[in-house]
Symmetry: C3
């Protein structure tokens, strides 16, 4: 049954848990891997076949080979960050998830429209630097892990700081003060149910390090903040907040069906936001695929242990969905 399909991904981001999850569910595995990462990945012995691929941008060239293998490709953060969105959408391949949602995820304006239509609180946007009248975080387009993001307070400060990123497209987003939280969901197109898989807290350099320096010293050193993602750590949210957070995730899914097609968003996704002292959850980003924070839970999450009573990572949850789709002869419903 599972033998008729293989599961493939690119050697980065969450590839290890995707391969492990596939194998746990009985799938053969294919890894697209740059030459200089082969040693690392092969030490885990999780790929049945490795295809040398320098960049995810070459996906279109390998697609034919993957199709011959009947390999379903599991996209992750590197696909959109380092590949071409257009190529990703057009390449003929077995793609887990709905590619029609990608333009909505990768364009900050459309992403915002999506969230607002779903009734979710979002930070204010400023359409020009001269309008900045509160703390603002300047975010660049793409998903390269927060690299280059900076905090600013007024136009003058902005003009100074933007110099080193000349020409890049950016967004001026209200900076909401609160604990940043990343909520990992999974929407099953087969059962129609959305689950909360887990939560994480990102660690960003240097903003998650400057607090370790006394305020007086920070000022003496003229420290500026930056937001490059380094890694992720586990976090559980108060159980009383979970029912509402589940509803929020469900609304994101429902709304996506109106935006693209009736399949809408499915598989793993993530809402990235901030919990304020008033317990308001402001969402500043949607990721319409598996996120790196799920790597924290390779041996199962608090909620998958409760639900499945076995070690289910997001990678394995994907493989479980594909396996069920094959079994029920509904594979088309998990591809898109």
């Amino acid at each position: 049954m599972a033998e008729s399909y293989k599961i493939a991904t690119f050697a980065s981001h969450t590839a290890l848990q995707i391969l492990k999850g596939a194998r746990d569910e009985g799938f053969g595995t294919v890894l697209l891997c740059p030459e200089n990462r082969k040693k690392f990945y092969s030490s885990f012995s999780l790929a049945d076949k490795t295809i040398e691929t320098e960049s995810i941008g070459e996906l279109d060239k390998i697609a034919g080979q993957l199709n011959k293998e009947n390999a379903i490709i599991i996209p992750h953060g590197s696909f959109v960050a380092y590949g071409s969105l257009q190529k990703l959408i057009e390449t003929e391949m077995l793609y887990f998830g709905n590619r029609k949602i990608l333009p909505w995820e990768s364009d900050r304006q459309k992403e915002r429209e999506w969230l607002k239509k779903a009734g979710i609180m979002v930070p204010r946007l400023y359409d020009a630097p001269e309008k900045i009248d509160s703390p603002v975080i300047v975010k660049f387009f793409g998903a390269e892990g927060g690299k280059g993001y900076f905090l600013t307070k007024n136009q003058k400060d902005f003009e100074q700081k933007i110099k080193s990123s000349k020409g890049k497209a950016y967004q001026l987003q209200e900076y909401i003060v609160g604990v940043p939280i990343y909520i990992h969901y999974f929407h099953s197109p087969l059962s129609g149910e959305t689950e909360i898989m887990s939560c994480d807290r990102r660690w960003e350099t240097n903003v998650d390090a400057i607090g370790r320096i006394a305020a007086k010293d920070q000022i003496d050193l003229s420290l500026e903040s930056s937001y490059t993602v380094v890694g992720n750590a586990p976090l559980v949210i108060r159980e009383s907040l979970l029912p509402e957070l589940l509803e929020i995730g469900e609304r994101v899914v429902e709304t996506s069906k109106k935006l693209v097609d009736k399949k809408g968003l499915f598989g793993p996704f993530c809402l990235e936001g901030v919990l304020t002292p008033k317990m308001e959850f402001y969402v500043f980003e949607v990721s319409a695929r598996i996120v790196a924070g799920t790597n924290v839970y390779i041996n199962g999450t608090p909620y998958t242990w409760l639900k499945y009573n076995k070690p289910v990572s997001t990678g394995r949850r994907i493989a479980m969905e594909i396996k069920q789709a094959i079994k029920e002869n509904r594979i088309e419903e998990v591809l898109g």
Copy 2:
């Protein structure tokens, strides 16, 4: 054996791990659940029976029904925070733990007396705002997760900040600078032994977020701190500190026997404190029941893996104790 009793709790706080733990030990489970949380809780399929209950304040009305089911109620943070202490103490029901300890836990003055009698370091208290001469944290009574707490330095600042919380009972507590740590214990009335189950670190909004803003920007933005609990993250304490921390927990138990009755405090409890650079552990609160930080360890804690070699959460540890009490015909010893 376990079949003769059921385990019940209210749908919030740590209900999921309590139900899972009960089921792992072979108990039937009953969930008291508000209508708008049913969808979330039922997705885990952990409750054999669900009784619609809008608030834990209605516990007295449901008690008869639970007694008929022979259901033992496991209290958690929501019971004291959102229910009536008096009702909780007077209602006839099978209650896991010693209700006589609740007045000592929920009154900040009595809690302090308890800790001091146990020989534990506690922060200084100020009996009037005009005496404030060091950093002070203003804490309100009850257990609503730190909501409204604020930091102050002198009377003038205090008078300004207290305005928005008029009429609430509060305590002026010395603010000890150090890493906040929550130590989860379990005292077995059957064996007489106290165990360290695990530790966690709370995440509070916005104090666990302001450090991500450069000091200069914080000052420009006139940021004030607040302490609303958002969630919890795992932490292990240096192994060399554990023997002393175990002794501290044992002293809290021993002292409780003098304060209430010879049963004293038993079951899960938590010491909430701060570790200073001199490695002194100041305790600012006792929770005489399961705490939310244990949700981090739904699939077992570092110490329960060492001791039991299977996934034992605090919820499951409770069920293990009840099961043993039934087996040894000592059920009265775990109820109170």
Copy 3:
């Protein structure tokens, strides 16, 4: 097979996971334990035999007894921090690891030479207080968990702060701003392979607490920072960084073979560094033995779950290596 050898360690630091790992692999266990820690350690029932030993400094006196038992000693942080390096090197015993590397780990100058030879970025050193021209962290020699370390900015400030630590040997190290990360490795002398086991983030008091105080308040309170280690928390690093971090670990091993003997560094070790916004990894310390951060992963790490599909802590990984050495009749290769 495993029955012919026992595994022994001292009751502190990572002793619990070492004993558990030994037992999981079928070894008999011996615990060297101070009288006042016996109650705590015996509650886990992980030691087959306990030998009362007040301090690891007495290791030479107990060595004969351990040799009679054919007990292999697993060193951890307390061995170097609280024992005598000379005694540790000279005592005749079955020692897991290469003692010849200890002088390179415990001398900050030699440690630095080692790292530089391995092509690893290290912070600048200042050879005299009058040369301080950037933020500097003052570190004392030994491994007592960061106790007494302080941050300084110029000679005057330094002279003031050093007063309370008169006579202690110290190093003036450039303070690199970035997220501190501890990477746990294991090098197998049997297979010649190096693995990344896991990563952690230390919690230090009070530097990991001051960020919770608003900048304005910090300044009013004249807070100074300190770096005493309290505990550890899990962290996963971006998967895309792992291949490079593995290479860095391999270079540390390769270089050690030139520094001491062809055995070089083997078993568990840790690189302790900082990831900067430019994604540069500056290493400020090597620990040539198991580190306390591995206690976070007593039931397995993300990477050992991927590789071994069973709960492998660093303690168990050590026992696995010894077991294999016995089986292959190569025990000499894991002792040194």
